[in-house]
């Protein structure tokens, strides 16, 4: 059985939000909430300032905390590894949201259930790519079977150093990133988008002088 995953090459993401728009359109996602989006993270200060574009979505973790948390069994894992929510069984207790370290689950304000990215299960089960992958103009997202050595995703992952978001959470995400500039750790949980890591202020100060 396939083990679906996604590889995101941050070197080529241009922050155009085509993926977010495609996802919104695919699932008719209501205003104010997102299944898939692009975080803008700013680092450093003038003259050395840099902006990173980091697409984020449900990581379909191997050890998914949401799946273990759900008291009604509404969150399940498909045979191909995709983690999906059966909205009929969701009672909106929000434990999955509290357990997910990625903030990837939201409350659908129209249907009053928890929702998240499904890796476009309705498309991928028929061999197509997820909507976000198809829409990406720079091909920075690659979807496929991580266990198939001939797949593009497996080959790109083998040829490049990859990392995951919040590895320390121990969730074993299936969304891999090529992150040469080390942007992922700069994402704070909320609001962010300054580099607040230890020593960053000293680095800024050193560069100022």
């Amino acid at each position: 059985m396939a083990r679906f995953g996604m590889l995101i090459d941050l070197r080529t993401c241009i922050g155009c939000h085509a993926c977010s728009v495609a996802c919104k359109s695919e699932f008719d996602v209501p205003l104010g909430v997102f299944r898939d989006s692009v975080k803008y993270v700013e680092e450093d200060i003038y003259q050395m300032a840099r902006r990173h574009f980091i697409p984020v979505l449900c990581n379909h973790c191997e050890d998914a905390p949401c799946l273990k948390a759900c008291p009604t069994g509404a969150i399940t894992r498909l045979e191909n590894g995709e983690v999906v929510i059966d909205k009929g069984d969701c009672n909106l207790n929000r434990f999955c949201m509290a357990a997910c370290p990625y903030g990837a689950i939201y409350v659908d304000p129209e249907e009053n259930v928890a929702q998240k990215c499904t890796f476009c299960e309705h498309r991928t089960s028929e061999g197509a790519d997820p909507a976000c992958v198809e829409a990406c103009p720079t091909h920075c997202r690659i979807f496929g079977d991580l266990d198939d050595p001939d797949s593009e995703i497996a080959q790109r992952a083998a040829d490049n150093p990859t990392t995951v978001w919040k590895e320390e959470a121990g969730t074993n995400p299936r969304v891999l990133y090529i992150d040469e500039r080390g942007a992922l750790p700069l994402i704070a949980d909320q609001g962010v988008q300054m580099d607040m890591s230890p020593g960053a202020e000293q680095v800024r100060e050193a560069r100022r002088t």
Binding site: R35, A69, D89, L92, F95
Partner: protein, 297 residues
């Protein structure tokens, strides 16, 4: 630009109130087990009032949960769905349902005992009747113990409550539940039979003082567990002790919840007014501890 999906705050004030109410309900039910050598009449009266307080608190907690979920059938689904028993919330919901059923049964049995006592039959008839009374009381104690600590297990599985991940968090939640239970019963202790009121109130007062001290010790070690245990936890500790949480910690938890009850109980141990003040202050402090575990981080 912050980007999305932004982490939504999954739980709000309703869930905080629920965690406090469930502590009162479970604590009140456990308190009679901490009072040894009670004679039959006093035990029945104490159990009678503690069961009613627990039932009342549990009913409000369940109502709060249903309001938070949006519809009663959603709460029902959590009780009847057994597909994910690895979920703390799933197990907790079943304990809530069990506790409710046992409390109703307990109140009914105690009603029968009170009626029997009034008719001059104060002892339990041996055999099945005794077994039923003891089994219900024991089962109630077990479910109450589970409900006293289950919120901290729930919070430990979330990313927004780092305080719940320390070794003494469970013990602290048990202490807050017991403390709120003792204080709640002290508030109605004047309903006890006059001949034993002084003795029971004295024991409850000593218990309250002991729990206040225990709570202080556990809080100290909670802080020490956070100190030097990684940058993220130190940030939380700093926020609680010196940042935005400082007024809550030093004002509500330490001063109101620990210092006031201790001083009042030591200075004026027998007055009804002082007992009420100490009880109310202790409940406020313990409830705030539960709230801080829920909200800070």
């Amino acid at each position: 630009m912050s980007g999305s999906p932004l982490p939504e705050e999954p739980w709000g004030a309703l869930l905080a109130a629920y965690f406090i109410l469930i502590g009162i309900s479970s604590g009140v039910t456990l308190v009679p087990w901490l009072l040894p050598s009670r004679d039959g009449a006093v035990a029945v009266t104490l159990d009678w009032w503690s069961s009613w307080i627990a039932l009342f608190a549990l009913a409000i907690a369940s109502a709060v949960l249903i309001v938070d979920l949006g519809r009663p059938e959603r709460f029902f689904l959590m009780i009847t769905e057994f597909t994910n028993l690895g979920s703390v919330m799933s197990v907790g919901a079943k304990f809530i349902a069990l506790e409710g059923a046992l409390l109703v049964l307990s109140v009914y049995l105690l009603h029968l005992r009170r009626a029997a006592a009034q008719a001059g039959r104060s002892t339990l008839s041996p055999g099945t009747t005794t077994w039923v009374y003891r089994t219900v009381a024991s089962a109630l104690a077990v479910t109450s113990l589970a409900l006293a600590v289950y919120p901290v297990s729930l919070l430990a599985r979330t990313w927004g409550s780092p305080l719940a991940n320390t070794p003494q968090a469970g013990t602290l939640f048990l202490a807050t539940a017991l403390l709120m239970g003792v204080a709640s019963i002290l508030c109605v202790s004047w309903l006890l039979p006059e001949q034993t009121r002084a003795e029971v109130t004295g024991r409850l007062r000593a218990l309250l003082l002991a729990l206040v001290v225990a709570e202080a010790v556990l809080l100290l070690f909670e802080g020490l567990a956070l100190y030097g245990n990684g940058q993220a936890l130190e940030v939380v500790l700093h926020d609680i002790t010196q940042g935005s949480g400082a007024p809550v910690l030093w004002g509500l938890i330490v001063t109101t919840g620990l210092v006031v009850p201790a001083l009042v109980l030591l200075a004026s141990p027998r007055g009804r007014a002082s007992l009420l003040v100490a009880s109310a202050a202790a409940v406020a402090g313990a409830a705030t501890i539960r709230y801080v575990f829920f909200a800070m981080g």
